[in-house]
């Protein structure tokens, strides 16, 4: 690939050097890296790094946990209403029959 005809600048002085002395690298603004990565993520040419995925996954998992808890709570409440007898006779504790409580205990 390399040509063998590197030009030496003829500017009338021997110490002017040539193009080989020119720097070949220069670091751009660090913000450019984020810009490039963001555009690649937007085009779905890259997947977010693990750390970012974890950051996204955490609130999703928390929301799912809360949803599960609430649905369990509602299901439990619904079942309890379904199973409970419509009327449970209140224990007879009237003053007219003081032994009623004792009989109830025996009955149980």
């Amino acid at each position: 690939m390399m040509n063998d005809d590197r030009h030496r600048l003829d500017t009338g002085r021997a110490d002017t050097g040539d193009f080989a002395r020119l720097p070949r690298e220069l670091s751009p603004d660090p913000a450019l890296e984020e810009r490039v990565v963001r555009s690649l993520l937007d085009e779905q040419l890259l997947r977010p790094a693990t750390r970012r995925r974890r950051l996204i996954a955490l609130p999703v998992a928390a929301a799912a946990g809360i949803a599960l808890f609430v649905s369990g709570l509602l299901a439990g409440y619904g079942l309890s209403r379904w199973d409970s007898p419509a009327e449970i006779p209140a224990p007879a504790t009237s003053e007219a029959d003081p032994d009623a409580e004792v009989r109830m205990v025996f009955w149980l």
Binding site: M1, D5, R13, E25, R35, L46, R47
Partner: protein, 183 residues
């Protein structure tokens, strides 16, 4: 990850879309791509950044065509030249103002650095076609045949553009480089 070869990182980007692998490739190759695009853009930082971004976007889209036994750096520079060529055709960089040219970015003004700044400024003042050929031939080391292929011009045109570029450069640099200045 940082010690992985380019080919290994390319595979990770291709198969998993691995962001970390891409960032390693980016940090490894962007300084050279950026300098190249900055020269094509005549020293305009904003244009050079756009060109680098487009270079990486296109490179990742076409990463499947990169042969793992090849040199990724050379392949990327080929992509960069294509991007720059299209940009030069699409826009009219010669008509753009050059007030925002930021070539220096240095504090130490030794002779070598001053020489580099002078030459970079002179290159930035060249017409687009001459600048592209001069950068590719004299700095990047491509042959006229390779330049002809990359810029979609005849090899003879590349030679005449180079000759004109060198002549223009001499005209720009001679008045600046006096004995008093570099004594």
């Amino acid at each position: 990850m940082r010690d992985s070869s380019d080919s290994e990182l390319v595979v990770q980007v291709l198969t998993r879309g691995d962001e970390t692998a891409f960032r390693t490739l980016y940090r490894r190759h962007t300084p050279r791509l950026y300098r190249l695009q900055l020269r094509f853009a005549g020293g305009r930082v904003a244009d050079a950044e756009d060109l680098v971004q487009e270079t990486w976007l296109r490179a990742v889209r076409r990463l499947g065509t990169f042969r793992s036994d090849g040199q990724l750096g050379a392949w990327l520079r080929g992509v960069a030249v294509n991007v720059a060529r299209e940009w030069m055709r699409r826009t009219n960089p010669d008509a753009a103002r050059r007030d925002d040219t930021d070539i220096t970015g240095v504090v130490d003004l030794s002779h070598a650095v001053r020489f580099a700044i002078d030459v970079e400024r002179a290159i930035a003042r060249l017409p687009t076609g001459q600048r592209a050929v001069l950068v590719l031939h004299d700095i990047e080391g491509f042959t006229h045949e390779e330049i002809a292929l990359q810029l979609e011009i005849a090899a003879g045109t590349s030679k005449s553009q180079l000759s004109a570029a060198r002549q223009t450069l001499r005209g720009i640099l001679r008045p600046q480089r006096t004995d008093e200045e570099y004594a």
